[in-house]
Amino acid sequence: MATLTKQKIGSVLAKQGILVAFALFIIAFTFANPKFLSVDNLFSVIRSSAILGIMALGVTFVVISGNLDLSVGSMMSFSTIVVLDLHDKIGPFLAIPAMFAMTLCLGAFIGFLVGYLKLNSLIVTLGMLSAIHGLTLTYSGGKNMDIADKEGTWFSVFGQGTALGIPVPILIFLGLAAVLGLVLARTPFGRKVYAVGGNGTAATFSGIRRARTVFLCYVMSSACVAVAGLIQASRSLGSQNTVGQGLELEVLAAVILGGASLMGGSGTIFKTVIGVLILGFIQNGLLLLGLQFYVQFVVTWVIIILAVWLDIAAKRGKLWSPIA
């Protein structure tokens, strides 16, 4: 009986090593500063993780399909700048769909290059990272974009509003995570994404149109970026051209931290959400500790490595496993 329980616990640990790591960090940070677990702080962390998190949801699809997306950061800057600019020109009702259309076009273009021309996704999206940055700068003329009438617009609801006492960005993030989690786990499209990333040749022989699946993953990723850009724009009602710069690596780190394989074929939306929250809580926790910020860069890295190690160790059932 005792062994059975032990086995059970063991198998839970093996599957959810990352959750255990997450719980350990929360406990450690709470001991260091009790305010860490206050409702205000939890909301503030999840709300500021929401933008990164929504982008990570889309990138999870791309990564599971066996590809990379390094363009999401500069694409988010693009969406933010475009929607802010159009807000004052054609009003928020038209600005939002126009921004979505433009962002989806970028995603479709990347999807076309990677899916139908079979170009290496690292090269394509790394190039798009700077190309889209250039596009944003050309569009804005390098100027910061600000909404003129900040008090009088309902546009602020996406970033600053609350519903049922919960900040709207959190609702959007968790809502999207639930929907995309179902799409990935329960629909034929989701199974195709796993198949294409896990074993492309086998997928082709099973009649899956790989190009189309990859294409759709990038479109999905750009749709998530558009939502993130909308929240970003609405949160501060003004933005620099570089607002999303560097986010692509944080997004990728969150997805990989959540356990998706860079080789494709594995990962889940739920674990990506955990990965996002770990990153968000580390940043917030270190701030609350008041650690000197040069040290924070190092400590962040140490905690990420610790999380990955705990995850891997739980899966293997041992802490020590040299390459042999």
């Binding site: 500021s48 933008i51 390098g142 501060s236």
Partner: protein, 319 residues
């Protein structure tokens, strides 16, 4: 007739140098290689102002280049300018260290180099004729004075607590402004405590997140000093969202968002640094150097204090 009109329109400083010299030297060919035009509004406005000032001045012929933030490209541009045999080179360094060999090359070719906006590293000073730009240490010190004066008005100078949101770690501007502020504050307001400093990376969103954490951590914050207005407004957004209305915000490099927040009464003050003044000062420094005038090595242009009280004396920044 036309010549006379143009001469009348040119600046007083130029008029003082005298027509004889102008005739002797002919038009100066001045080349500039900028850091990264278009990446932010400041640099965009700087370039436009520089071109306008050079066109207005018929003793100057300008070659305007931009390195796009790329060190290698900037080094190549300096070499091009040497080949073109310009009379002076103005450089806005993409990197304070890496451009030194190129600056040295220009110096060896007897072309005076003027560094603009942000200085190069000290080991390159021997090859530079003059640095034209803002004095970031003074800017930080002035922000401390603005903050302190406001606390005195409010009568809380004996107990006020301040947090600082600094620029990107490792950047000279960020380090100098923080140093100016941290050194000056205890001199003018010895009882005000700076409780914590965290970087906002010149990014409004990042600064908002940092401020959210500060608000959770400290129940009592009286003032926020931000390394520029972009970050200052990010912090202001966080305070507004949390319903903390009574905090005094002081920034640096007054941006239009900061100016607007001052108009709205939410943001107390900043440092007025105009990219137009910056560009014109750089061109003027180059002309003065070429005219053989005695130009100080650190040729700062003035960046005055701006607060809700005196903001009407300043036009709204274009960036």
């Amino acid at each position: 007739m036309t010549l006379r009109t143009i001469l009348a329109a040119s600046s007083a400083a130029l008029a003082l140098t005298g027509m004889a010299q102008a005739a002797e030297h002919g038009p100066f060919k001045i080349g500039i290689t900028q850091n990264n035009v278009g990446v932010d509004s400041y640099q965009t406005t700087y370039e436009q102002a520089f071109i306008a000032a050079a066109e207005e001045n018929d003793m100057v012929e300008s070659v305007v280049l931009d390195a796009g933030g790329d060190v290698a490209r900037q080094i190549a541009q300096v070499e091009d300018l040497i080949q073109q045999d310009v009379d002076a080179i103005i450089i806005w360094p993409t990197n304070g260290e890496a451009v030194i060999p190129a600056v040295r090359k220009a110096h060896q070719a007897d072309i005076p180099v003027i560094v603009t906006n942000s200085n190069i590293a000290e080991q390159g000073f021997d090859f530079v004729a003059s640095f034209s730009g803002p004095d970031n240490i003074t800017q930080g010190a002035r922000s401390a004075e603005i903050m302190c004066d406001k606390f005195k008005d409010m009568g809380i100078e004996a107990e006020a607590r301040v947090v600082q949101i600094s620029g990107q770690p490792g950047y000279t501007t960020a380090i100098e402004r923080a140093k100016g502020f941290e050194d000056r504050l205890p001199e003018v307001c010895p009882d005000v405590t700076l409780v914590e400093t965290q970087p906002g990376d010149w990014n409004r969103e990042k600064s908002q997140q940092v401020m959210e954490a500060f608000l959770v951590k400290y129940d009592d914050i009286d003032g926020v000093y931000a390394g520029d207005d972009n970050m200052g407004v990010g912090a202001l957004n966080a305070a507004k969202a949390a319903g903390r209305e009574d905090i005094i915000f002081v920034g640096a490099t007054n941006f239009s968002v900061g100016y607007e927040a001052m108009e709205a009464g939410d943001y107390w003050g900043s440092i007025y640094q105009s990219p137009v003044d910056d560009a014109e000062a750089a061109l003027q420094t180059a002309i003065d150097v070429l005219n053989g005038e005695d130009v100080p090595f650190l040729n700062y242009f003035d960046t005055p204090k701006i607060t809700q009280d005196n903001m009407s004396e300043f036009t709204k920044p274009v960036f």
